[in-house]
């Protein structure tokens, strides 16, 4: 499923004293199966932007085109498109409401009008996909679970709709390192298994660096940059000047390079840095 954002502008409360332009002339093309990271300072417009992608917000100007279909054309099948684009909000566990985990996850597919046996199958699959034991949790109240488990249940609720695009807004905020890694690994596994398009909104440059293929950078309502992770994280000064940063490990390699050491400075993970330093040490040893 491809998404094209064309000259998108969004103004909150137009014509009132509170009028504010949240998005300004955004152009963005997301191809089928891509893994994007969306970064930007708080209030840069990330959440406003992703709410346009499944039609929760209507552009003030511009268009959202999904698989060739304009989302806001009169003929658009908004409901169907929404089901295909799953949006996981920040702190999605606040949206849990049912008596049991199973009922909560089933809420979406049931509303889609699917037959009961299909709903049951999807619920089981979704719960397992987020790394929970279906039989152990299905009859529990979602509110007896830990924070990390609740968040997984909320994500399962979106997965049970079988989305083709999964958008996650800060899925790991407030989780401990293990919980964070588990959820991210599950997203990666899911993407491989179902071949879905994923957009990850995050303030963690470390997570973005090791996971996504492409990054879009927001600043004050504009999309100021798009590119591969390596390209984007090369611009340390530019990123810090707009409230962002680069992974600590990338900064380490840049600083070594500045001090005249012969190492590649566009590493994104600890593993890459380790390989790069071992290589440099070997070169030095043989010289």
């Amino acid at each position: 499923m491809s998404i094209i954002v064309k000259n998108l502008t969004h103004v909150y409360m137009p014509g009132t004293p509170f009028e504010s332009t949240a998005l300004k002339d955004i152009n963005w093309k997301i191809e089928d199966g891509e893994f994007w990271g969306l970064i930007g300072h708080t209030g840069s417009g990330k959440s406003t932007l992703i709410q346009h992608l499944n039609g929760l917000l209507k552009p003030t100007a511009g268009e959202i085109i999904i698989d060739g279909e304009n989302l806001h054309a009169k003929s658009a099948r908004l409901k169907e498109i929404r089901q295909k684009i799953g949006l996981v909000f920040q702190y999605p566990e606040h949206q849990l409401f049912e008596e049991t985990v199973e009922k909560d996850v089933a809420f979406g597919p049931k509303n889609m009008g699917l037959p009961e046996d299909v709903v049951g199958k999807r619920v089981r699959e979704a719960i397992e996909q987020v790394g929970l034991n279906y039989d152990a949790v299905k009859d529990k109240s979602p509110f007896e679970l830990s924070g990390g488990q609740m968040r997984r249940v909320a994500i399962a609720g979106v997965l049970a709709m079988n989305p083709e695009v999964l958008i996650l807004d800060e899925p790991t905020a407030g989780l401990d390192p293990l919980g964070r890694d588990e959820i991210l690994e599950e997203i990666v596994a899911l993407r491989k298994k179902r071949n879905i398009t994923v957009i990850l909104v995050s303030h963690s440059m470390e997570d973005i660096a090791r996971l996504v293929d492409k990054i879009a950078v927001m600043h004050r309502g504009k999309m100021i940059k798009q590119g591969s992770s390596r390209e984007i994280f090369r611009d340390y000064k530019g990123l810090t000047s707009i409230g962002l940063g680069i992974p600590q490990i990338t900064e380490l390699m840049m600083r070594l390079r500045e001090r005249g050491k012969d190492v590649a400075c566009d590493v994104l993970t600890v593993e890459e840095a380790r390989a790069e330093i071992l290589k440099a040490l070997r070169r030095k040893g043989s010289a």
């Binding site: 900064e251 070594l256 001090r259 330093i277």
Partner: protein, 276 residues
């Protein structure tokens, strides 16, 4: 040094829960100390934080803040005034429509005279470097600025101790740095005792002492260097180490002789420069 916070054999159990949220917690935090508490979700960090300023009282055992028992009903306001709390979500902590009014909310409730409140608000905003935002609407500020307004609101109550429960979880990288450098400044320059709960290891590294919690207990305690060099142990309880510490650990495993206790970017750069 005198102790600011003392926990003696503290147990805590939530109603309708058979498990203990906290088990036999014992520690002393000195006046002017900066302590970071790390631990997996559900390990009891936030429960402990709520015990430190008397939102909860221990099921068993005692907590003293500056000599006052938090379980003493008549002294509870003293405890709250001595130990101020900052929470995760800045939007949930802001009550007024103008920054300076928000900062004034705490001292107003303490019944401080208006002239004194003005002075306190001005000083608190200066301390968090938001003086120029005094007349702005809080919702127009960035996440880091909002969280600093929340800290100023606590400062205006003149606490000796500030407890911050994941104050940076919702912030962007620069917002996080702003909040942490504000916290460090309050600790160094104003001598405030700091208890910082965080999931970010690079923040915990900056404390004087780190407590590691797991399953309701403090399982490790020491300087950041003592704690974070135990990479295996931390990972086994679901925690992490800073990326540079991880790198030096990996390099040592590959047979490279490098200091095992690297914690900050600067010292790692220096150390690697000598090797390369």
């Amino acid at each position: 040094m005198t102790a600011e916070i003392i926990a003696q054999g503290v147990y805590y159990q939530y109603a309708q829960d058979n498990n203990l949220a906290l088990k036999d917690i014992n520690f002393k935090i000195d006046k002017g100390e900066f302590v970071a508490i790390i631990g997996p979700n559900g390990s009891g960090k936030s429960t402990l934080a709520k015990l430190l300023n008397g939102i909860f009282v221990p099921t068993k055992g005692e907590i003293y803040v500056d000599g006052v028992n938090t379980a003493s009903k008549e002294d509870i306001w003293k405890v709250r005034q001595k130990a101020g709390m900052v929470f995760q979500n800045p939007d949930n902590q802001i009550v007024a429509t103008v920054v300076e009014e928000d900062v004034a909310f705490g001292p107003e409730n303490l019944g401080i005279p208006p002239a004194e409140i003005r002075i306190r608000v001005r000083e608190a905003l200066e301390a968090v470097e938001l003086t120029e935002y005094a007349h702005k609407a809080p919702h127009l500020l960035s996440g880091g600025q909002k969280q600093r307004v929340a800290i100023a609101g606590i400062l205006a109550m003149k606490p000796q101790c500030i407890i911050l429960d994941e104050p940076t979880a919702m912030l962007d990288p620069v917002g996080r740095k702003e909040v942490i450098s504000t916290v460090k400044k309050l600790n160094r320059e104003e001598g405030k005792t700091i208890v910082l709960i965080t999931h970010f290891m690079d923040e915990a590294v900056q404390a004087d002492r780190v407590f590691v919690m797991s399953n309701g207990q403090v399982v490790m305690e020491g300087t950041p260097r003592q704690v974070f060099t135990r990479v295996e142990k931390l990972k086994s309880i679901g925690l992490d180490v800073p990326q540079v510490t991880e790198l030096s650990y990996q390099l040592r495993k590959a047979g490279i002789e490098i200091r095992p206790d690297l914690l900050t970017l600067e010292e790692t750069v220096d150390c690697l420069c000598q090797l390369l």
